[in-house]
């Protein structure tokens, strides 16, 4: 179906960004309100589209809009086109819904920042780019949104880039994302070379005529793209540093939305992965490795935001793993993505609220006993905590258990391995999240005298409360009567009944047991004992490695960065000495003397006009000679 109104979803926040940036300081007074209003309008347009979509039959639900012809050269024809279907509407509502809440939160959170207007301009820019990412009807349109969110992320991570470390963090994020983007470029190139099209519908139709090798290539390259944007192994190292951005940014971009773009990309490309088992297996492996990787890092972090970031990495690992188990897993990956959007955004905003009351302290060892001072933050954070643990009936119980179950039932030894990894991950998650709860909210206070913890104003806790409601209810709502699975099912290949290794009840029982073990260990370790307000030094090698993000930075630095720097230095030197040196030598030889170039130049140059003349005369003479 054709629609004329999809573009408003993007145009509203984009206009906000443009107005705020162009109006400059003039819009300081009202810029944040306009940006929030525009983000909210986009959300309401999304709701309106959902209501229209609900009124149509399954086949009629996807709608599209062609804006104009973007690039057309030979058979490479790309329209600026948008497409809204059952999958993208989920993202639209998540992005604009959570996005608007975070706008509201930021009005208060950023109220003392002289550059608040710029912050809101970037937030609106992000919303627009992210909507383009999920609404674009071809891989190239998606690419524009894909790098657009990367730009917004860069600008927001480095929002306080007067601090060198923050500036470095933003650069690191951009560069590592570009490595991933290269994968997307390759995927598009292979698709065009083999299928002659890069639109989603075109590629989907061409899959059956395309060789498995090409499909595997496209799939792997899409996976590379996903690892960059979604902070998956081995391109995950930027996410921890990205916590340099203001906390609302961490909640919106680096938890709820942008970092899930990789899951969207894989799910959107289900037709490729279904036909490329090798690529699909790699997806599963990346998801499994990252979910453990993130969880392990999460156990060792004292910085509340970095602990949550590690958790995000791990939870997205679950989603990627789920998406790699498609066709049956796609819907569960999306379900976990949506519930995670609620509970993780809520917890990040909670962390922001804690920081707000604690003079921007992020070290959890300097927290403690905040439950009494910040009851609302404690309650909303606590509900998010129960959700991520997967305690029934909170959101994560439904979404995470579905992924664990699907993993177990994916067949054979693979199923057992994947199932065990997801279960173990759930246990570690329970451990590190309990640790965060204990260190922050319970026990004895460990803050110093300057801190005067207090609850945040209503503009901040209201969004937290709304997200907390989502953390409680979203899982049930999305899975009730298989709502989300049925909603999305027209998009994915139908699949027969899969073999059932473990029944849902058994999986839930196992998962809850593992969670209980994790919680218990955390309690034994942190609740009983006095927590030190400085990180202990005499820790095991494992803790030390986990504190250093499992050494990925060290690996990147010694394998890529330092050799790269050496190579650069060598080339800079040889460019002058070898290449230019050779040119200089030839030049001298050509002059017929050993005199330096500079010695020859003055006389040579002054008669340059004459030289041209000589050239012309020589030309004419030569012509004359040969024509005689």
């Amino acid at each position: 179906m054709i629609s004329n109104s999809l573009v408003y979803l993007i145009a509203l926040p984009l206009a906000g960004a443009a107005i705020l940036l162009l109006a400059g300081r003039r819009s300081d007074k009202w810029g944040h309100l306009l940006a929030t209003a525009l983000s909210a309008s986009s959300f309401f347009v999304g709701l309106y589209q959902l209501s229209l979509m609900l009124g149509r039959s399954n086949e009629q639900r996807p709608i599209s809009q062609k804006l104009f012809e973007w690039i057309s050269v030979g058979s490479f024809k790309i329209d600026a086109g948008l497409m809204l279907d059952q999958l993208s509407i989920c993202f639209v509502l998540l992005i604009t819904g959570v996005g608007t809440l975070i706008h509201v939160y930021s009005i208060s959170y950023m109220s003392h920042d002289p550059d608040r207007r710029r912050f809101f301009a970037f937030l609106n820019l992000f919303i627009a780019a992210m909507l383009l990412l999920v609404l674009g009807d071809s891989y190239l349109n998606l690419y524009v949104g894909w790098e657009g969110v990367g730009l917004a992320s860069y600008l927001l991570i480095g929002f306080w880039n007067q601090k060198p470390a923050y500036a470095t963090a933003s650069k690191k994020a951009f560069v590592m994302n570009r490595v991933g983007d290269m994968g997307l470029s390759f995927a598009i190139m292979i698709a065009f070379a083999t299928m002659g099209t890069v639109s989603f519908t075109g590629v989907k139709a061409a899959v059956e005529h395309t060789s498995t090798a090409a499909l595997t290539g496209i799939g792997i390259m899409l996976l590379v793209a996903a690892t960059g944007k979604s902070a998956q192994f081995p391109l995950q190292a930027w996410l921890g540093d990205a916590m340099a951005g203001p906390t609302p940014v961490s909640a919106l971009i680096h938890a709820a939305t942008m970092v899930t773009a990789g899951v969207y990309l894989i799910t959107r490309s289900n037709f490729i992965f279904d036909a490329a088992p090798t690529a699909q297996l790699l997806v599963v492996i990346v998801g499994a490795v990252t979910l453990m990787f993130g969880a392990l890092i999460g156990t060792a972090k004292d910085d509340i935001k970095k602990a949550l970031a590690a958790s995000t990495m791990s939870q997205i690992g679950y989603m990627i793993l789920g998406a790699g188990l498609g066709p049956v897993g796609y819907a569960f990956a999306i379900m976990h993505l949506l519930t995670h959007g609620f509970f993780k955004a809520g917890m990040f905003l909670g962390a922001g609220s804690v920081m707000h009351g604690m003079n921007d302290e992020v070290n959890m060892r300097k927290y403690g006993a905040l439950r009494k001072f910040m009851p609302i933050t404690f309650a909303t954070f606590g509900l998010g905590y129960l959700a991520i643990l997967g305690v029934p009936p909170f959101a994560g119980f439904y979404s995470k258990d579905m992924i664990i179950e699907t993993a177990f039932n994916s067949g054979g030894i693979k199923g057992i391995i994947l199932g065990s990894v997801t279960l173990l991950g759930a246990s570690i998650t329970a451990f590190y999240m309990t640790r965060v709860m204990i260190l922050t909210f319970t026990g004895k206070s460990r803050w110093d005298d300057q801190a005067h913890p207090h609850e945040s104003p209503w503009l901040m806790w209201l969004p937290m409360a709304i997200l907390a409601i989502g953390s409680v209810t979203s899982g049930y709502l999305l899975s009730h009567g298989n709502a989300l699975v049925n909603w999305l099912s027209p998009l994915f290949e139908n699949h027969g009944e899969h073999e059932e290794l473990l029944s849902p009840i058994v999986v839930s029982g196992l998962a809850l047991t593992m969670v209980a073990i994790g919680v218990a260990i955390a309690f034994l370790k942190y609740s009983r004992n006095q927590v030190s307000d400085v990180a202990p030094e005499n820790v095991s090698i494992f803790t030390r490695i986990a504190r250093q993000d499992l050494l990925q930075d060290r690996f990147n630095e010694s394998v890529f960065m330092r050799p790269g720097q050496v190579l650069t230095k060598i080339l800079v030197r040889t460019d002058d000495s070898v290449i230019d040196g050779a040119v200089r030598t030839v030049g001298r030889a050509a002059m017929g003397s050993g005199a330096s170039l500079r010695g020859v130049q003055s006389g040579f140059v002054r008669s340059y006009a004459a030289l041209i003349l000589v050239g012309a005369v020589a030309l004419i003479a030569a012509i004359w000679v040969v024509t005689q």
Binding site: V73, S75, V175, M182, A206, H209, D575
Partner: protein, 502 residues
């Protein structure tokens, strides 16, 4: 209507007008020059409106006998590619004049001479793209060196004299090789029906493979020096380092395009067989340029040299697109030439303002500009984003077309070249971080932000960069017909999607 001659005559007339203004009246000199460039730009746009975009033949043809005894004609005509490049040149000219309002001060010669040189150069920039007589082309190609030489050597900074000489000798060397090839062509034309320098007639000459190869190299080396292609690039960083920002814009943005333009117009047209023979070698050089230029850019400490090296990488992309022999590669390369003109102009002009305010071009001397001079910092940032080909900006369209057009025929080259996009992120974000971010370092506290004149100068460039990123069709529609035509003449057609070979 004799559009092209008119276009060439206007700046020349302007230069006469400038010459007539009293030396003391600096303001009037600048105003005369600026208004002249505006008139030329307006006339070019009027001409572009009259261009028939579906016509693959040359348009606005003019032909007058010049030196009849040698068969030399004053012959002009343009296709879509030439139109686009003339448009770019004439839009950049007023921008450069306005942006560099004061850069003629403190030169070895007068302010007046500076603007005369600029205007004369503009005439030649139009002529070099419009000439269809090989002799006329050669004369302009060589004569262009003179104003550039004086602009670098007379108004530049640092080792300006040495840089100007290096530029000159490099160019002269290439020019001589081309001259030899031209003479040979002329001689052969005599043996095959009558002496001529007419491009079309020469393209129909019969010649042995060896002859073709040799003559091809004569042209190609001249163009590869201009473009510049690795390893013939070492004059460019020195020249850009010494030239004024405005001169650098004209040098890298316009004059270097004569190299890549020449590859298409002369190498491909005159020597199709030799072009095919040398394609593998040229593609390797192009890929090396892309990666090498980017790595060298990362390693630079000087802002102007850094920008020069980014251009070497970008010219690698253009050359690769040309010799990929696909319509996407060709159109991408042609569009790239246009877009590169503007993104490099933005970088050089804003970089130039930063440098003149700070009194240093060493990147490490800057720091924290985003909070001192926000408008200038953001303009530099946008220019940088354009240079790294961020989607949504014009350079992305051309860069991606080149990559995808190369990939369909030469996947390995395209894959290596794609690594350039990661290197591009580094060579832009490193100077951005050092100069714009971080705390304000000593010496930068009192820098002033852009004034109204500078804002007016940079605004159209930024507007073009953004507008063409989302809507490149006006240019692609002009470029495309020629693309298919040129590729077909060389005996190529776009590779067919391979699916179906399951």
């Amino acid at each position: 209507m004799i559009w092209l001659t008119l276009l060439m005559a206007l700046p020349l007339a302007g230069s006469v007008a400038v010459a007539l203004v009293p030396k003391a009246n600096e303001k009037l000199i600048k105003q005369t020059a600026f208004i002249t460039t505006l008139i030329v730009m307006g006339t070019t746009i009027a001409m572009a409106v009259n261009f028939q975009r579906d016509n693959v033949e040359l348009q606005f043809i003019e032909k007058y006998s010049w030196i009849p005894s040698f068969g030399i004609n004053y012959a002009l005509g343009i296709d879509g590619l030439a139109l686009v490049l003339i448009l770019m040149s004439t839009i950049l000219a007023p921008v450069v004049v306005l942006a560099g309002w004061n850069e003629s001060h403190g030169g070895r010669w007068s302010i007046k001479s500076f603007y005369i040189l600029i205007l004369v150069l503009e005439t030649m920039m139009i002529g070099v793209f419009a000439a269809t007589d090989v002799f006329l082309f050669y004369v302009i190609f060589e004569a262009m060196l003179i104003p550039v030489y004086f602009l670098i050597g007379g108004y530049g900074s640092g080792e300006r004299a040495a840089a100007a000489v290096k530029f000159l000798i490099y160019s002269l060397f290439g020019g001589l090789l081309m001259l030899a090839s031209i003479i040979a062509l002329y001689v052969m034309s005599g043996a095959q029906g009558g002496h001529t320098f007419d491009l079309k007639a020469l393209s129909q000459l019969e010649m042995s493979s060896t002859t073709q190869n040799l003559l091809f190299l004569g042209f190609f080396i001249a163009f590869a020096i201009k473009a510049p292609l690795w390893p013939l690039h070492t004059w460019l960083p020195d020249a850009a380092d010494s030239a004024t920002p405005g001169t650098s814009v004209l040098l890298l943005g316009v004059l270097d395009k004569v190299g890549t333009f020449g590859m298409i117009r002369y190498c491909l047209t005159l020597f199709p067989e030799a072009s095919r023979t040398f394609t593998p070698l040229i593609l390797v050089l192009a890929v090396i340029s892309i990666v090498y230029g980017a790595i060298l850019a990362i390693g630079q400490r000087d802002l102007k040299r850094l920008i020069a090296f980014t251009s070497i990488s970008h010219f690698g992309f253009i050359t690769m697109g040309i010799f990929a022999m696909t319509s996407q590669g060709y159109s991408g390369a042609a569009l790239y030439m246009f877009n590169h003109g503007f993104s490099t102009a933005a970088l050089f002009l804003v970089g130039g303002w930063m440098i003149s305010r700070r009194g240093s071009s060493t990147i490490a001397d800057f720091g924290g500009l985003q909070r001192i001079t926000p408008v200038m910092a953001w303009m530099f940032f946008i220019a940088g984003m354009s240079s790294l080909a961020l989607p949504g900006l014009s350079s992305f369209v051309s860069e991606f077309l080149v990559l995808v057009g190369t990939f369909t025929r030469y996947p390995v080259h395209a894959v290596i070249a794609t690594f350039g996009i990661v290197l591009a992120a580094l060579y832009i974000l490193i100077p951005v971080q050092k100069a714009l971010h971080g705390p304000t370092t000593p010496g930068n506290e009192n820098l002033s932000d852009l004034n109204l004149r500078e804002k007016i100068a940079i605004a159209p460039i930024i507007a073009i960069i953004i507008a063409l990123g989302f809507y490149p069709s006006p240019l692609l529609n002009v470029i495309n017909p020629a693309a298919t035509h040129v590729i077909a003449q060389l005996g190529f057609s776009d590779p067919v999607p391979t699916s179906g070979e399951k």
